[in-house]
């Protein structure tokens, strides 16, 4: 059974002992707590064989054939490591999805290090894997992404600020680029997710934030590439494995940027490590 909680001076993270999933996040400095569940899902990629449109999902086009993603596993097998420097809960969801929930002793951010792949395609279904954070934050159909790493823009479900939108893609039509961060908020709480790479993301349900992690597709989207997005390599002949990190920060909305701006800076301009064998002269 996973631990009930891990915590440092700044954050407390609880887990559901029955499922092994995250269940809440607290900022101990600001004394705020949100319900937070996180899990991994996959959208079945559209193969273009659809009465409404013959557009397959591909490199340029994200187009799931259903708005409801498949849950990869409702529970996670867990393993816990608790030391004075770092506390980790290692979650195993499937042979191709695992994660480490990590809290360093002096950190104000919770690290989620996800590992996804190789995506199985022996069922002949293209897969677009996401992680979804479901919270108690009352988002009222709004969420926020940075479009270019500088300006953060407000996004509203099924809405565009400069024209009347007739939404035809309930999921993909509400996905936006995330270059360094995305957040959801209400009057009390703001949950900011800082990413280590550009990703796609959306807030399809109130209180939730989902982020695309990995894709493996079987059809070309007929936009000029002429190949499906189905990459492998010498080391990973059965499909690529991807590992990345999300950093979560929970704050009051007026002061949230004080936390996520330096956090994102530290991710984008990380320290460079070099090594020297033996004694340094």
């Amino acid at each position: 059974r996973p631990p009930t909680a891990i915590q440092n001076k700044f954050l407390r993270v609880t887990f559901d002992p029955d499922t092994g999933l995250l269940s809440s996040l607290s900022n101990l400095e600001t004394k705020q707590t949100i319900k937070l569940t996180q899990n991994f899902f996959w959208y079945n990629a559209s193969d273009g064989n659809n009465s409404r449109s013959n557009q397959p999902s591909g490199a340029y086009i994200f187009r799931p054939n259903s708005s409801t993603p498949f849950t990869i596993s409702k529970t996670a097998k867990t393993e816990t490591i608790q030391t004075s420097v770092v506390q980790e809960v290692r979650q195993w969801f499937a042979p191709w999805v695992s994660q480490v929930v990590r809290l360093y002793a002096d950190s104000r951010a919770l690290e989620l290090e996800w590992t996804v792949g190789p995506l199985p395609i022996d069922d002949d279904l293209g897969k677009e894997v996401i992680t979804r954070l479901d919270t108690s934050i009352k988002t009222s159909q709004y969420f926020y992404t940075d479009s270019n790493g500088r300006e953060v823009l407000q996004r509203r479900t099924d809405y565009r600020p400069t024209w009347h939108l007739k939404q035809s893609e309930p999921v993909a039509g509400n996905y936006y680029p995330i270059n360094s961060r995305a957040f959801i908020k209400d009057d009390e709480d703001q949950l900011t997710v800082v990413t280590d790479r550009s990703q796609g993301g959306g807030s399809i349900y109130n209180g939730s934030l989902e982020i695309m992690l990995h894709r493996r597709l079987l059809y070309d989207d007929v936009r000029g590439v002429g190949e499906p997005l189905n990459e492998s390599s010498d080391i990973y002949p059965d499909g690529l494995v991807v590992r990345g990190r999300l950093l979560l920060s929970l704050d009051r909305p007026p002061s949230a940027a004080d936390a996520h701006r330096p956090l994102a800076q530290e991710v984008v301009l990380q320290p460079l490590l070099t090594f020297t064998d033996g004694d340094l002269h």
Binding site: A59, T115, E231, R243, L273, F275, T276
Partner: protein, 171 residues
């Protein structure tokens, strides 16, 4: 002789063609990756030359590009090594470092010789599966480093206890 021009050109090609979006044929993606890897090799020489000039040390610098999957031949096999930390931000940062190791206990000291709290944790089974026979570290050494603004510092790591002799790894 190092340079950043090779990386600059590779980045220019990659950005012009939206190279990271997967909107190119696989052999083209392979070519972008090769150009970027070659660019980084040239940058490594440039960085080594700069740090050698600034630190006054011409000791060979090793780069570990696969730390995210707990692979670094030097830290896996060495009984004593130093970690140089360059901080590109204009403010001091505290940063967690995780190094693949095979020993069970290590001593870490900062540039002034002061001891730093460190812990050794096992490498996760997911990482074992991910690295596919690259690297042999069974543990990771975790500690926090503090680096000055737009500057560098170093930490010394010494093996205290070795449960099993580390496997021979060629650098």
């Amino acid at each position: 002789e190092g340079d950043s021009q090779t990386m600059k050109k590779a980045m220019a090609v990659a950005q012009h063609h939206d190279a990271v979006s997967g909107t190119e044929k696989q052999h083209v993606a392979n070519d972008y990756a090769k150009r970027l890897a070659n660019g980084w090799q040239h940058c490594q020489v440039l960085v080594s030359n700069s740090l050698a000039a600034l630190s006054g040390s011409s000791a060979e610098r090793i780069y570990c590009d696969n730390l995210n999957i707990s692979v670094c031949p030097l830290t896996e096999s060495s009984k004593k090594f130093s970690v140089n930390v360059y901080n590109p931000l204009a403010r001091p940062v505290t940063w967690p470092v995780r190094l693949p190791v095979n020993g069970t206990a290590y001593a870490v000291s900062d540039a002034s010789g002061k001891s730093v709290d460190c812990q050794v944790v096992p490498v996760s089974t997911a990482t074992w599966a991910l690295r596919r026979n690259r690297g042999s570290a069974v543990r990771e050494l975790v500690f926090q480093v503090q680096a000055p603004p737009l500057g560098f510092t170093h930490y010394t790591v010494s093996l205290l206890q070795d449960e099993h002799p580390p496997p021979r790894v060629e650098h």
